[in-house]
């Protein structure tokens, strides 16, 4: 089963039906790991009209979501995108309000030491340069939570509010990077954790902003610049965090300040963090690709919501299939998987 089969009519999918007349599609997440199973039922049909048949498949796939006919073509091109799994992943802990609570609480606890360090930075650095003197660390945290809540209630932030949020997050990130660069932080570990949490938040916000900006301004911009003028500046954060001085900083922290006890642990630590920077950057870029391919904000949201709702169901089914019997174990495992998939 290694050849890729091209399907142009539904009849060709029939051989893949199992004994319950259902096709099981494997969805892969990051690192090609299996993330979920999607079951597809084919209604019995006798017509050979392609469009009608595909409509039926679509209706089965999207029972409650009301995707309309025009999204057929969109979905056809989406499934060809290899990296669609990366963007539709639920594994980013910052993407939903429920999961973000975990990080928010951690960040709240570190607030005092962060504020102290930033205040000290302002004394140490006499000239502004790249260091922003205005920051609102608290504001960024609470606004981000608010933004996620509003998305859940389907009353999302406006484009300009999102831009302010992205800018705010960018500014705080720049400050934290400067704090580390000037070696001011009393608690470097807390600073690094905060930085990476904020980087996740920033990446998610940027994805949502890109979406709004593109759909709001696409006609006005036409074939010219598709993204906001500040986008390149925002993306430069990822480049800064990949520079050799920052990598050395992580190595030094791991070796001298942390409780890591061997060179192998230090390697795992800093390489995992470098991987995360790369992954987050890639998510933003992949999201831009997806936005342009789908080209329709309703379909994009439907696709995302569909994925989240169905993941809950397919997680439960996957557990049952794996033959996990003990109800306590099932509950614990479900909670853990849901947390990792970050479903609200």
């Amino acid at each position: 089963m290694s050849k890729i089969i091209e399907v142009s009519i539904l009849d060709q999918l029939k051989p893949f039906l199992n004994d319950k007349n259902v096709i099981e599609i494997l969805i892969r997440g990051k690192n090609r790991r299996i993330k979920a199973f999607q079951k597809v039922a084919l209604n019995d049909f006798s017509q050979s009209e392609t469009k009608e048949l595909l409509e039926k498949v679509l209706n089965t796939l999207n029972k409650n979501t009301g995707l309309n006919e025009k999204s057929l073509d969109i979905l056809k091109s989406v499934v060809k995108l290899q990296n669609v799994g990366l963007v539709l992943n639920g594994l980013n802990l910052c993407a939903t309000a429920a999961a973000f609570v975990v990080i928010y609480n951690e960040l709240k606890e570190m607030k005092a030491s962060i504020m102290q360090a930033i205040a000290k930075l302002e004394q140490v650095v006499k000239q502004g340069n790249d260091v922003q003197n205005e920051f609102e660390f608290n504001k960024v945290l609470s606004e981000y939570t608010d933004m996620l809540d509003r998305r859940k209630l389907e009353k999302p932030y406006s484009e300009s509010k999102m831009r302010e949020l992205v800018d705010g997050e960018y500014n705080v990130l720049s400050l934290l990077i400067s704090v580390l660069q000037y070696d001011i932080a009393a608690d470097k570990g807390a600073m690094i954790t905060t930085l990476y949490s904020l980087l996740s938040m920033f990446s998610v916000s940027l994805c949502y902003f890109d979406e709004q900006y593109y759909f709001n301004n696409r006609e006005a911009l036409g074939d010219k610049e598709k993204w906001h003028a500040a986008h390149e500046r925002w993306m430069s954060i990822y480049d800064t965090l990949s520079e050799s001085w920052f990598i050395e900083l992580l190595q030094d922290y791991g070796t001298f300040d942390s409780t890591l006890d061997s060179t192998i642990s230090v390697d795992m630590y800093y390489i995992a963090l470098m991987d995360q920077v790369y992954e987050l950057r890639q998510e933003v870029l992949d999201n831009q690709d997806l936005i342009q391919t789908i080209g329709d904000i309703e379909s994009l949201h439907t696709l995302r919501n569909w994925n989240n709702d169905d993941i809950k169901k397919t997680l439960e089914d996957a557990l049952k299939k794996a033959g996990v019997d003990d109800p306590e174990a099932i509950k614990e495992y479900e909670e853990e998987m849901k947390k990792q998939a970050a479903v609200a």
Partner: protein, 217 residues
């Protein structure tokens, strides 16, 4: 640690690629088999051979495995020490303390591992990793003093390290002819043992290298 523990945690835990590399490095120069073909030599067979080597070495030199290990640790320190930039002296009136060069910080970290009375294999490998990365950076800097260095395992090149060790000279002794630090003509000898220990440790360190899913150095 004893010899068996060292061999068990290094040679016996190598991946197939790592083991092939070790065979290539050891069998050419140091160890030979009278009856086995290269392809027939498994991890256990090579491990036995190395274990026998250390036993014979003890009989011939009168020094046990621990003493040879100490020679390895000490000689590595003496060689690397010379290449590390010193911390600049500050005058008493200066309020700010001098910046310790990064290379020196890691050199001192390696020395702190050395000070453990009985090192574990993991500690020996950590010590080797730090010293060899410092040495590698010095090699790339034409043996001039280094203030910073490349911490990553990827910078290590075993063949280059061995070639440079072979050319190390004794410093401070004025003679007409250059005297090399290591004399590896004899197989069952302190100096050759140091090379064999270095090769085994380095192969293990490179075999254990952590690779990022996306990040590649």
């Amino acid at each position: 640690m004893d010899c068996k523990e060292f061999i068990h945690e290094t040679v016996m835990t190598l991946s197939d690629d790592g083991f092939d590399h070790l065979k290539e490095l050891l069998l050419e120069e140091y160890l030979t088999f009278a009856f086995f073909d290269d392809t027939e030599i498994s991890k256990s067979i090579l491990a036995e051979k190395i274990f026998d080597y250390f036993e014979k070495l003890e009989l011939k030199t009168g020094k046990d495995f621990d003493k040879h290990l100490n020679s390895y640790i000490g000689d590595l320190d003496a060689i690397v020490k010379r290449c590390i930039a010193k911390t600049p002296q500050t005058k008493k009136k200066d309020a700010v303390s001098a910046d310790v060069p990064r290379a020196r910080k890691y050199y001192e970290k390696a020395c702190s591992i050395k000070s453990f009375r009985s090192m574990s294999v993991r500690q020996l490998l950590d010590y080797t990793r730090l010293m060899m990365c410092l040495y590698m950076s010095a090699i790339n800097n034409q043996h001039a003093e280094i203030k910073d260095f490349n911490y990553s395992v990827r910078c290590l090149n075993i063949e280059q390290i061995i070639a440079n060790l072979e050319n190390e000279q004794f410093i401070g002794i004025k003679t007409i002819v250059d005297i090399k630090r290591f004399d590896t003509k004899e197989l069952y000898d302190r100096d050759t043992c140091i090379f064999i220990l270095a090769i085994i440790a380095l192969t293990k360190i490179m075999d254990d290298q952590i690779q990022g899913d996306y990040y590649h150095e």
